[in-house]
């Protein structure tokens, strides 16, 4: 009887190797990839024009194709909010709830294998590789709190961990797994070479915006100024785009930095107040927050004009549009750079 395993596929090298190691033992493997909304690469490539020349492959799909396995991409944006907002085990260096994230994903994957009739789970975790979520002490926490218990196999460091049920039942052989530990990537690279993989995503972190300091500053600002730890999918997309300038608690400007971002932000003009330069080439800006009063509109337009080709001009004409409303035209003097305090920039 062929045993079946679901492998958590992030698109990185470790999950590729872990799934391959199980295939080498005759296990039928299918991949699961969770979409939280905070994933880095695809979105920024899609938005920014300067990145258009880069290949836009989705690494999880690419890994699945290399392995010849199916990949099930699961949208967990809504359920994931509780992980981000109330992490039981706290945040890492930024707003990254890595341990809670791992527990949540393993829990979802465990439910998935129970529903689909699979036998066990596979992850690419390596002891000591991540300071928060991949430590010897956290491995049993993930197994216990997710409910997966002894059905979670970590082939890359299995020899450093107690035997799992698939090993004890004889579905897989412990001796054919590995004892990797620590942050060195050399054992993984050697194994990749042994398996014939010479093209894989650059490893070790950076796949989630929540580990990014600048992104976390913007998310924290959003929560602080809303007075509640809440977000929706548009919020987390817009935090990835543009220059964020907050002149007051009441509102923030999201100012496009280049053409691709202008095009992306223009898709939100029906939902947000927006500002666009008319007399000079310049960026589109969205206003996030309260409905602006006339004084705030002039201030916001002066800031946006500062980032246009007319920044040295005496007057710049701009168009201010309420959300889904009639635009109004204004002439303002661009705000000089020295009048924009550094504290307004959310970076």
């Amino acid at each position: 009887m062929t045993r079946k395993a679901a492998a958590l596929i992030s698109g990185g090298l470790d999950s590729l190797l872990a799934a391959k190691a199980m295939q080498q033992q005759g296990i039928h493997v299918e991949g699961i990839n969770f979409f939280t909304g905070f994933c880095v690469e695809g979105h920024t490539h899609a938005i920014r024009k300067k990145d258009k020349a880069k290949p836009k492959r989705n690494n999880a799909l690419w890994v699945a194709e290399q392995l010849g396995i199916k990949l099930h991409i699961i949208d967990i944006v809504e359920e994931y909010k509780d992980v981000v907002i109330n992490p039981k085990h706290g945040y890492g260096a930024n707003l990254n709830p890595c341990l809670d994230c791992k527990i949540f994903m393993v829990s979802k994957a465990h439910q998935w294998i129970l529903q689909k009739g699979f036998d066990f789970l596979v992850t690419g975790e390596v002891i000591g590789q991540r300071p928060m979520s991949q430590r010897k002490e956290t491995m049993p926490i993930v197994a216990n709190e997710s409910g997966a218990e002894d059905l979670i196999v970590r082939p890359l460091c299995a020899k450093n961990l107690p035997p799992t049920r698939p090993e004890l039942e004889g579905w897989i052989e412990r001796e054919k797994m590995f004892d990797f530990s620590g942050r060195s990537r050399k054992p993984q690279m050697a194994l990749a070479a042994e398996y014939g993989f010479d093209d894989y995503a650059q490893p070790a972190g950076g796949c989630c915006f929540l580990t990014d300091e600048n992104y976390s500053v913007k998310l924290q600002d959003l929560w602080t100024n809303r007075g509640a730890k809440k977000y929706d999918i548009d919020d987390i997309m817009l935090l990835k785009v543009g220059r964020h300038v907050r002149p007051s608690q009441a509102f923030k400007l999201i100012i496009a930095r280049e053409e691709g971002e202008t095009r992306f932000l223009s898709g939100y003009r029906k939902q947000f107040q927006s500002i666009k330069t008319v007399s000079h080439a310049g960026p589109l800006a969205l206003v996030e927050g309260a409905t602006l009063n006339p004084e705030q509109i002039r201030q916001a337009c002066a800031i946006v004009a500062r980032f246009s080709k007319g920044k040295q001009a005496d007057q710049v004409e701009l168009s201010f549009s309420p959300a889904n409303g009639e635009p109004q035209s204004l002439q303002v003097k661009p705000m000089p750079a020295h009048e924009i305090p550094q504290s307004w920039y959310l970076v």
């Binding site: 492959r57 989705n58 799909l61």
Partner: protein, 77 residues
Amino acid sequence: MKTLQVDARRLLCPMPVIRLQDSIEPLPVGTEVKIVCTDPGVINDIPAWCRINGHSILKINQQDDEFHITVRKDNDD
């Protein structure tokens, strides 16, 4: 057979792939699905998803900033 239409405009990858995956799952083999997207990443991602899941790309058209992709469900595993 009627072609199912899926609107994935303004969604960034992998969301268009998820929309396609979730739309196609309950359909019978042979059904065609036409998905309209604006993220250029779909040009790579949807064909890759079809290859690994055993479905066929019938047509890819670009109209201005939109990508119209027609997929046929070939596999019910």
